[in-house]
Amino acid sequence: MTAGAQREPAAAAPLERHELEGATLLAAQRDERWARRALVQTYQGRVHALVWRLLAGAGRRDQVEDLVQDAFLRVFRALPRFAPEGPARLSTWILSIATRAVIDELRRRRAVVMPVDDDLPGGERPDLHHEQRAVARAIAAAVASLSPEVRAAFVLRAYHDLDYAEIAQTLEVGLGTVKSRLWRARAALQEHLHELHEEIR
């Protein structure tokens, strides 16, 4: 792993950046059913991945999908007031709403996040290499050790390509707080991956 690769993970992230077309968005804002469906289909993958990772990969499938439904319900309630000409991309705006929905859930019921055990956690596929699965478990354990706000900053940064300002807006905190949270997240990841490295050696 090179230093450069360590410094710029988000830039290399293979993220889907497709946005809903403007006309479809306007139709969804007018409560047209076909447009609502198009909006859900466009963003449900990203929302699902966000929710799953914010639950540290330990949420049951029904828990994850319940939260996805809750997030989209919030999105559609607020959609008429989304300004397409505003500074936020629709995807960022939807992810921010979904993040808040998950943080609410994590604050309310921390039991939803269970320790990651040695069995295959929900997101791991049996065809993955053993070492890759071990790395995934280490990342999941590191994320599970973080507070909801810190893990949100990390997941939005590392897996959804949000920049610091967007994360600050999403979490309604200052830029300094975002940096400090990301610092803590990276430290936790480094620690867990270091332990893994020691085990493998």
Binding site: E8, P9, R61, L73, A83, A88, T170
Partner: protein
């Protein structure tokens, strides 16, 4: 976007590389997730519409009651003003040739006799001498033909003191407004305010004034119309209007009905 002053600092913990981060894969969502999201959304929005209509209807009934109360109060004030402004000579009822007094078997706030066109009235079926009164529990209303205006003397004695409009009510404490005590409050009711089961605590505003954070186990409020608002720290908000009777207890549960748009 990488922020050089943070991630590139020498002492900054390094972010794992993309190949490591990508090892943490996400399972595919269910194939019917879109349908379930849309069904859930439509069902929730429909139930919110029903609740909203019920609240609006309750608000309409409350406004109607307030309107009726205001009209009744205005009528009472007008009648009192009429009584107050009448001179002593005018208080004697004019001698009418054949006044028809309709006596209603329960007290009426307006003491002036009702005049009617004599020719339009059927003669009384009972031959009643003017000094004889009908029993009070006869079928309403009893019509009699008094000989004099003394027919009005059946009114309570207190109504003679017309200089004081409060005397009409026959209560000593109302005879002198200076001595009257402040009116007792109409009554109090109890509100229990909480947050929906899946939401974090919210700040509660009762009639625009913050009264605490949910759950609010018990708060006493005057009977009547009140507005309760919930405000969550992340900008979500809910509002409910409730009309409470005296002695009533109601439980209100706040569910976010709105989201703050962080980009406006």
């Amino acid at each position: 976007m990488t922020t050089p002053e943070d991630e590139d600092r020498e002492d900054a913990p390094a972010m794992p590389g993309r190949e490591l981060l990508d090892a943490w894969t996400v399972p595919e969502p269910g194939a019917d997730l879109t349908d379930r999201v849309l069904q859930h959304m439509e069902a929730s929005l429909a139930s919110e519409t029903v609740v909203s209509m019920q609240e609006r209807r309750r608000g309409g009934v409350g406004l109607a009651l307030v309107g009726i109360a205001m009209v009744a109060a205005a009528a009472l004030v007008l009648s009192l003003v009429q009584l107050w402004s009448a001179g002593p000579g005018q208080r004697e009822a004019p001698a009418v040739a054949a006044p028809i007094v309709v006596r209603i078997p329960y007290p009426v706030a307006v003491p002036t006799p009702v005049e009617a066109v004599p020719v339009a009235v059927e003669p009384p079926t009972v031959e009643a001498p003017p000094t004889v009164e009908e029993p009070p529990v006869e079928a309403p209303p009893t019509v009699e033909r008094p000989r004099k205006v003394e027919a009005t003397s059946e009114r309570p004695q207190r109504s003679r003191d017309l200089k004081n409009p409060f005397a009409f009510f026959g209560s000593d404490k109302h005879r002198d407004p200076a001595k009257s005590k402040p009116r007792e409050p109409a009554g109090t009711a109890t509100l229990r305010i909480r947050t929906g089961a899946s939401y974090s605590p919210a700040t509660v505003y009762l009639d625009g004034k913050a009264i605490g954070t949910t759950p609010i186990v018990k708060t006493k409020v005057p009977a009547g119309l009140h507005t309760v608002e919930w405000a969550w720290p992340d900008g979500e908000w809910a509002k409910s209007t409730v009309t409470l009777e005296a002695g009533e207890t109601q439980v209100l549960e706040g569910l976010p009905s709105d989201l703050k748009n962080p980009y406006r």
